[in-house]
Amino acid sequence: MTGGELTRSRWEGSTLPAAPDLARLVGRLALVGVAYYLGARLGLNLSLVEQNVTPLWPPTGIAVAVFLVMGRAMWPGVALAALAVNLPISDGALAAAVTAAGNTVAPLVAVTLLQRAGFRRQLDRSRDALALVFVGALPSMAISATVGTAVLLETDLIGRGEAAATWAVWWTGDAMGVLVVAPFLLCLPLFSEERSWRPQRWAQGVGLLLLATATIAWTARSEVPVLFLVLPILAFAAWRLQLRGAAPAALITSLVASWSASRAIGPFSHGGLFEQMFTLQAFNACVALTSFVLSAVVSERNRAAEALAVAAAELEDRVLLRTDELTTANTRLLQEIRDRSEAEEQLSLEEARTRREHQIAETLQRGLLPDRLPQIPGVMLAARYVPATADIQVGGDWYDVIQLPDGLIGLAIGDVAGHGLQAAATMGQVRMALRAYALQDPAPVAVMSSVHQLVSQLPTAEMVTLLYLLFDPGTRHLRFTNAGHPPALVFDTARGEYLGGGLSPPLGVTAEPDFTEVAHQMWPGASLLLYTDGLVERRGVSIQDGLDRLVVASVADASQDVDELCDGLLLQLPGNQPVTDDIALVAMRPLPLVPGPLSLTLSGEARMLVQMRVAVRRWLRENDVSPADENEILIACGEASSNVVRHAYGATPGPMHLTAELVDDTVVIDVRDDGAWRPPADLGGGWGLQLIEGLMDSVDVERSADGTLVRMRRRVRMGATE
């Protein structure tokens, strides 16, 4: 086929074939011609009638096979060979030429019809086998038989009576040539084109060929008519090896049978020509059909099975592949689950450790710093704690605000050298101890001495700075002592003043420090700020610089409430620098009370007079009444109260009421009793009322059935001018 296509394409071109191609063509034509000629000589040896009518004419099979495989372009080789075969046996060149033409045209027509029918030369479909029989062999070979018989008739080589028999022999001979030889020739290319045989198959093929040959060699000469014995062998070859196994055996079988028939031996030794012919052709037909038809059917089935196997294999492959993919995915999934659970385990371990550390730190922190500052009337408090930028949120800085009896407030701020759990633990101890000491005796030196004792006895030697202040919100009086801590700052919107003095070395440094106490009177409107060195120390800047900046910042923010003040200071002082040291900060602002009236009820006894004075003095100070006014108002109140004590009640003291009120710049004080007023003569020399009148701007006495009221008024000056 390939050669045919090649040749055709050359002829279609406008140029002549190139020399090597031409040489190849001529070589092929010669080869075809030689094959055809040899086939013809073989066929003539098998002739039953004369020399040119044979029961098996191999050249037609050769021609069909050559045209199918190599292309119809091979016809010149066939034609010349046919001419060469026919010339010696024909009556004249013309007869030979006509016969040769018929011999050439018949296979051409056969191949043309076969190709029209979609014939596959692999002969592996049953329709190809049927096409070879009913298209390629039987109808087409009628042409050569008709032409040949006509030529024999014309040249009088046969008589008219013999014409029908001659035609039949010629026709069957050519058809058999196609059916027996063509499959054999067509099977030859398959050895290279199709899957090559393994040695075992070769052994099987050769074995079957030998067996078929031996069988036919025996049956073709035996008198017993058992020619059919070879058929199962051919069938077996077709079943096992298909065309490549069956066609050679079929060819040999047919050749042997035909040779036997031409010699009239064995099964063909009796009977007439027609009977011999019929037997031979029937046998050859059976051989051919058994071999290539069965081969085609088996091939088809094999191919179907193969396709099925391929499909099954493909399916299996896909299943395997899919399974593989699934397994891989599964493995990956398992790995992922394992990884994840490991990660989760790791995470939960990590989490647990972090949580535990956090809990420890938090517990310490709670021990270290007040949960919240106490709510003290008249005093605003705020505190901040900023740990150094570190993992553990506790350090050595601390503060505390302690509410003490008598309305006093203890303020403490300190720093233990170092950071971390050790410093925090020490600080927690110191803080708790200080609270206890302050409640026992709030005096600064007493508290400081006790804390010093504690620190000295700690197993780990720590250096502790501590500033402790005792504040009286009623008088704004401060007492403090300072063990190596930065001084507290008192400030308002106009000025700031550090509370110097009262200094001793840090606790735990010297064996017997000499603690001293310093008193300070906070001026009205002033605020107090306690802090640790982290607030004022900056790298590369002197501490004095930090202290100066703190004064400036505090004074600037003094009008804000204490919480805003603390936040503002933390924002301004460390600035953008990372916090390298802990910062603790406490701000306290004693508030001037809203000038409200004072109302007291005391027992009308002499010993209560001092309580009365304390309350009134505090109220006057809260209202910012000047000390000079304070003194004289106190005396007037004392006189009025003394009158109640001495005269209002008999043996059993009754209540003494006092109210004080500031109306604009005038203090109005009422002293009232529920008893009976006695004559002024009974008052100590009359000096009581005289003093009241002398000290106050006005005094009114109202007597009634249910008691006496003394109302006193005095204009006062505001402001502390001590």
């Binding site: 006894e605 002499a606 010993r607 007079l609 001092v610 004075r613 003194n631 004289e632 106190l634 005396i635 004392g638 006189e639 003394s642 004590v645 001495r646 008052l683 100590g684 020399g685 000096w687 009581g688 005289q690 003093l691 002398g694 000290l695």
Partner: protein, 110 residues
């Protein structure tokens, strides 16, 4: 003695110096009077009562001072009071006209 006031007594060249510290009011005048009298020896030619550290003195205290002066007068022992000019009790002394009866000096030296 109440914790409102304390009395100290020192012998001086020509008499006795008694110093009162604290507040004197109706509740403690009797105690203060007896304390001062007992602190003064019989032979003291002069009694100086230093009120420089008294922060509060009421009319009962004034009465007490008059009584003290009267008692000491029986034994011919003159009484002098020391009251600084800026003392919170100055106004009371002046208002009661005590200064015209009992000599008041501004300091111990005088």
């Amino acid at each position: 003695m109440s914790d409102l006031v304390s009395i100290e007594s020192i012998g001086i060249e020509d008499g006795q110096l008694v110093r009162a510290i604290g507040e004197i009011d109706l509740s403690n005048v009797a105690e203060v009077l007896s304390a001062v009298i007992s602190a003064v020896p019989h032979d003291a030619a002069l009694v100086v009562l230093d009120l420089s550290d008294v922060t509060y003195l009421d009319s009962a205290g004034i009465s007490m001072l008059f009584k003290l002066a009267e008692r000491l007068g029986y034994s011919r022992q003159p009484l002098r009071l020391v009251v600084p000019p800026d003392s919170p009790i100055r106004a009371v002394l002046e208002l009661t006209n005590l200064t015209s009866v009992i000599p008041v000096v501004e300091s111990i030296r005088s």
